[in-house]
Amino acid sequence: MPRVNKINQPLDSYKGGKSTLCPGCGHDAISNVIIKAAWENSIAPEGIAKMSGIGCSSKTPAYFLQQSHGFNTAHGRMPSVTTGANVANKNLNFLAVSGDGDTASIGIGQFIHAIRRNLNMLYIVENNGVYGLTKGQYSATAEEGSRKRKGAPNELKQIDLCAMAINLGCSFVARSFSGSRKQLTALIRAGMSHRGMAIIDVISPCVTFNNNEESYKSLQYVKNNNEELHGLDYIPHFNPIQEIEVPSGGYKEVKLHDGSYLRLETISEEHDVGSKKMALDALREAEEKDKHVTGLLYFEEGIPTLDETENLVDTPLSELPEELLRPNKKSLDDLLTKFRA
């Protein structure tokens, strides 16, 4: 008998089809973490909706959570499609994957406006600094001076999606690395538990086009230049907190919407995840040193989500009975009477 989770599902229930990405691609590592995280969180797979745009990264929803419906939309349009699906069925657990090209170039407008609306979703950017699927052109998240396998170094300034998200008021913003399995697992588990938009920008090396030494997003570079803000542990709501062993160092806990906790173990100086200013400072400092800072950068609770702002009925709109969809005949008659007055 394979191990099962709280809802009696084996890990296999969370797996997907065979990946067609290049062997070693960072995106595959992230898919594996997603599988693990969803299983560990004991989310019913059928309650999840997998959303993506177009790119190597955006293909991955076919490679995890085979029991969930998914929508591999169009390039850069995942946020808007998710918005529509979100109000159609607010009970769905939206797990979205995008790429840096998909999000920071063609999709930057939809990214920004989805944040403003505070969709209740987890938005993972699999960030490799290049357009993998179209053979390795620089994307808008490539750092100035970074250099991919072929061609000249990148001349333009990067867009830091985390900084942008924080500035726009996103309530859960994290950066991670496809190679930091533990940290990423905790963040993805927490992102799933968060109510509102959770953005995790995951540096995910493109082993084919952007994994050379001079690339700031190569496996080796990130390994050498990753500054973790804190150690991370995720404590699910179904595991009473006292059961968990208290770590020796200092720690803080972030309570998530579903009652789970994210435990931040202080690594060096304290980082207050409730402070936009500290988050932005940390990002700026790292950038100045050509480093990557990873961990939960910013967290805020209680911002109304789109479905709340819309004041929707409790039943998902997609499941409403005809009576609630079509007003009765009398209402029309009354209206016509008014028109005729």
């Binding site: 059928e46 939309t73 918005t83 529509g84 407008g109 609306r117 004041n311 998902p316 969809l325 007003p327």
Partner: protein, 595 residues
């Protein structure tokens, strides 16, 4: 000179932002309440205040609704267009003008009614003088045409629904206009309004509001929109009706309304809603459709129920945003790259706006495809007559959705894209159901919904999609035929041309010919249209665009042997079609072809 009763056109020249809109509507409404088939067309500029606006009221006992070929009564309020407005009048036109503009009128061949409307307005209410001045001309016209004051009062009351103060001022202004006419002017014209039997069921409404109500009764769950003239008022009308008609008992909403950041996002939301099993729609105009093109193809190919209303304005490009045209029809039919084909519903009056408003969702879910509603500024933003909308006579059609394991088991060898019924329409399951999940995608997939680049799979899927849409031809709203037994000339037309067709027909028949009519109400075309063409000797395809877009579609799709019967009459200048102009173009065409 005998009386001219209930047969004239009034042209009111003002500037927008001066409050003339409510005065004009009151006048129109009063005429309407007299039972005169009055109709109004608003020619407004693409800015917010200060530019020339004309409001054209047609009164016709024949029921003609299009603006008349010439103006009989001109009201001149706008200094900026003064010279041109007056220059263009034919002799013996009535000219009611605001003398406070201090602008000259050097036409002796007109019937002149000079009125110091500004001064009179100031007397009534110095602060609102400008607004009030407009009601003065309403009073003048009412008195001149002999519209009783009580009818005018009704119209005023309706316009200001309960706002006592406004009612009082406007009523006072209209009376002061009447008095001025009686005391200071001599009726020198021969225009009169006589009361006709007024069908109490009748009312005036614009197409955008009618579509909006159709959507409300069609179970819309999500409206995403980005403001654009002339579709904005459709969205705003849904926004206004949802709180009245679509809340549950706890006051919670059954329809989300999202102002999108642009049209690309608006259509994305529609797809998302449709994919997740709800009824989503957006409304826009030409530029928006262009921007939506990529995702329109995605909806077609992933087979997601989606609804878009295009309230067309004058293209190409930004064009004349506040003018009307039927310039988008060919684009809608095949929008997006690759081989695509979409269902287009084409209402020709406000009743159909309502009806197609709710039916669009049923078709979209039945055929699992993109369904367009196609109207234009004329139908969408001008007031048209209705006798009442029919409550939907069928339950919602939610299409082939499998909800339970048992549903699926009933189907042999279920696959999301497997055509088990032979109609090209396959069964879907919804996210959240856990039933036979797939990853929907715009890339190649096999019958089970699994990614595939195989050539035979691609081809047979595309053939199925063609079959699916083909199957809708007999199911969509069929053409409305009005046939003469002579089967001499048939006019094929669509949409807002409905407002003008009868007058065109009468003009043509006055020359002795017999004219049948066929109003297209949907794409792809019904086979009935083919038969109509077959039955008739010659066919004119009449439309409000430059390129004869529907003519092009017909020419491609009808039986080859019928093609020689078709002739295109198409042009557009941004104005609602005038009967005489299109009739003359038809006559010229017939002559040119010596048919």
């Amino acid at each position: 000179m005998g009386k001219i009763i209930n047969d004239f056109t009034i042209n009111i020249a003002t500037a927008n932002g001066t409050g003339s809109q409510s005065a004009n509507l009151i006048l129109l409404n009063a005429l309407f309440r007299m039972g005169t088939h009055a109709s109004g067309k608003n020619l407004f500029p693409s800015n917010i205040a200060g530019l020339p606006t004309w409001y054209i009221i047609r009164v016709s006992d024949y029921g003609y609704q299009a603006p008349g070929g010439k103006t009989n009564i001109q009201i001149a309020m706008n200094p900026d267009t003064w010279v041109e407005d007056i220059e263009n009048l034919e002799p013996n036109t009535v000219l009611i003008y605001n003398t406070d503009t201090r602008l000259p009128v050097d036409r002796e061949d007109l019937i002149l009614y000079p009125v110091p409307m500004g001064t009179m307005g100031r007397k009534i209410n110095p602060k609102l003088a400008k607004l009030v001045a407009n009601m003065i001309y309403v009073g003048i016209v009412a008195e001149m045409l002999e519209i009783p004051q009580d009818i005018l009062e009704e119209a005023i009351a309706k316009q200001f629904g309960g706002k006592e103060k406004a009612i009082q001022i406007n009523s006072q202004a209209s009376i002061s206009g009447r008095e001025f006419f009686t005391n200071e002017l001599n009726k020198a014209d021969n225009y009169y309004v006589e009361k006709r039997e007024f069908d109490k069921n009748q009312f005036l409404i614009d197409g955008n509001e009618a579509v909006a109500l159709g959507c409300i009764y069609g179970g819309i769950n999500m409206l995403s929109w980005y403001p654009i003239t002339p579709s904005s008022s459709l969205a705003e009308s849904i926004d206004a009706y949802v709180p009245k008609l679509r809340l549950d008992k706890d006051g919670k909403s059954t329809c989300a309304i999202i102002q999108a950041e642009d049209e690309l996002a608006a259509v994305g939301m529609v797809l998302g809603a449709g994919w997740a099993g709800a009824r989503g729609m957006t409304c826009t105009s030409g530029p928006g459709i262009s921007l939506m093109s990529e995702l329109i193809g995605l909806a077609y190919y992933t087979e997601i129920p989606s609804v878009i209303w295009d309230v067309t304005r004058v293209g190409p490009s930004t064009g004349l945003p506040t003018r009307t045209q039927q310039g988008d029809i060919s684009m809608l039919y095949e929008a997006s790259h690759g081989d695509t084909q979409h269902i287009v519903l084409i209402p020709g009056n406000v009743d159909e706006c309502f009806e197609f408003g709710w039916k669009a969702f049923d078709y979209a879910e039945k055929y699992q495809t993109m369904v367009f509603g196609f109207t234009d500024l004329d139908l969408g933003m001008n007031l048209w007559v209705s006798k009442g909308f029919d409550y939907p006579d069928e339950p919602l059609n939610r299409g082939k959705v499998l909800k339970t394991k048992e549903d699926i088991e009933k189907i042999e060898n279920y696959g999301r894209y497997r055509d088990v019924d032979g109609d090209g329409i396959t069964y879907r399951t919804l996210p959240g159901s856990g039933l036979e999940p797939i990853v929907s995608r715009g890339t190649g997939r096999d019958e089970d919904g699994v990614y595939s680049e195989k050539s035979d799979i691609y081809r047979s899927n595309m053939e199925r999609l063609r079959r699916k849409i083909e199957g809708s031809r007999t199911d969509l709203p069929q053409p409305v035929l009005r046939e003469e037994k002579e089967k001499e000339l048939g006019i094929i037309y669509y949409g807002s041309m409905e407002n003008t067709i009868q007058e065109i027909d009468d003009i043509l028949e006055a020359t002795g010919m017999k004219v049948s009519q066929c109003r297209v109400r949907a794409l792809p075309l019904s086979p009935e249209i083919n038969d109509f063409i077959r039955r008739h000797k010659k066919i004119i395809v009449l439309e409000i665009n430059r390129d004869g877009q529907m003519y092009g579609i017909l020419r491609k799709e009808i039986e080859t042997e019928l093609v020689p019967k078709l002739h295109s009459v198409a042009f557009s200048d941004g104005l609602p079609p005038k009967a005489i102009e299109y009739a003359e173009a038809i006559l010229a065409k017939l002559e040119a072809f010596e048919i």
